[in-house]
């Protein structure tokens, strides 16, 4: 049963993936990690979608070809109630840039840390934690990081952060261009 599924999957991928360096990379990786979906965006740019519970396994596999973690970025999809965490990897040997996307619910935003694969992930995870409130289990240094101490736990880059009232509270009278009744502001 499984075997069959895998075969069909492979066939689909084969038809979809171009016969280039990138296509081969994706194919090889998907072969090892059937739970992930992969595609080629353009030359030197590939993309994977991975379920959140398998992200650590996948990144461990991927780290064989993609030696470097360049960044961890987060997108807040408010209407869908999800955060999309994007691990940006770079393959030094192949010269290919990979986006590994995974989605987690906003209410229970938890992910395993990848510090054991790339120690540099510590910094990126701290940043994502501070700005979005995602908890990376296993990272020992989550806590106040870049922002002013008073902004900790406010997660200012979340879409539902009430920027205007926060700014009003801090800067008070300086914030003179803010008017509750207006809908459009001219800068």
């Amino acid at each position: 049963m499984d075997m069959n599924e895998n075969k069909t999957n492979e066939k689909v991928e084969e038809t979809r993936l171009p016969d280039t360096k990138e296509g081969k990379l994706v194919k090889a990786l998907i072969g090892k990690a059937p739970y992930a979906e992969g595609s080629v965006r353009r030359e030197r740019r590939v993309e994977f979608h991975v379920p959140a519970e398998r992200i650590h396994d996948f990144l461990e596999l991927a780290s064989e070809t993609f030696e470097m973690l360049m960044q961890i970025s987060v997108v807040d999809w408010l209407k869908e109630g999800e955060f999309e965490v994007v691990y940006q990897l770079w393959s030094v040997s192949e010269g290919v840039h990979a986006f590994v996307r995974t989605r987690i619910p906003r209410e229970d935003a938890k992910l395993p840390t990848v510090m054991d694969i790339w120690p540099v992930a510590e910094t990126y995870e701290r940043e994502a934690h501070e700005f979005f409130g995602i908890i990376f289990k296993g990272n020992p240094r989550l806590g106040p990081f870049l922002l002013e101490p008073r902004e900790y736990e406010k997660h200012p880059l979340r879409k539902d952060f009430n920027m205007l009232s926060y700014v009003k509270a801090i800067y008070g009278d300086d914030f003179d261009r803010y008017d509750e009744s207006k809908t459009n502001y001219v800068i």
């Binding site: 922002l147 002013e148 101490p149 008073r150 902004e151 200012p156 920027m163 205007l164 926060y166 700014v167 801090i170 800067y171 300086d174 914030f175 003179d176 261009r177 803010y178 502001y185 800068i187």
Partner: protein, 200 residues
Amino acid sequence: MDERKDFGENDGVIHYELQEFKLFEPLFKWARKKSLWIVAFCTGCGGIEMPPLATARYDFERFGIMPNPAPRMADLFLITGYVTPKTLKRIIITYEMMQDPKYLLAHGSCPINGGVYWDSYNVVKQLDKYIPIDVAIAGCMPRPEAVMDGIMEIMRKIETGEADGWKRYRENYEYYRRNQDKLFGEGWREKEAKRWLAWI
């Protein structure tokens, strides 16, 4: 030790006696105008306007202006763009380290009223509540010509004695200090210094 306590946290930056040079004051005034050294402290996007100013096209060195990395020798502090609370702390510390007379020139609209970052939680809206500005240049970003014009303006003000930001800072120190403390919280210098210990 006791004397220092009286001065408080800022180490007597404000409460000291000025030297009066009665005889040579006009000479020194001329020299101050002709030799403005800039603290190389580029905040925000205006920093990128500095290379054209310094290089062959505009060459501000012909007016005796020189970028100087050490604040103790410098005279002119350029705020080149928006100021975040974090930068502002450094700006205040550097400004207090500069020796009187010192001048401050603000680039662009951000230091004036927040500019495009008017609704950002992280950009200081009105810089002259925290430190005194001598000349502000409007624009987003001002072209090098405008900056040159601002520098000419500050030279004129030095000559007429209008550029007295450093005096205002000393006289109204309580006011500035109150605003700073309101934004950063009391005892921010020591707290901030300790915050960075974890990084070292």
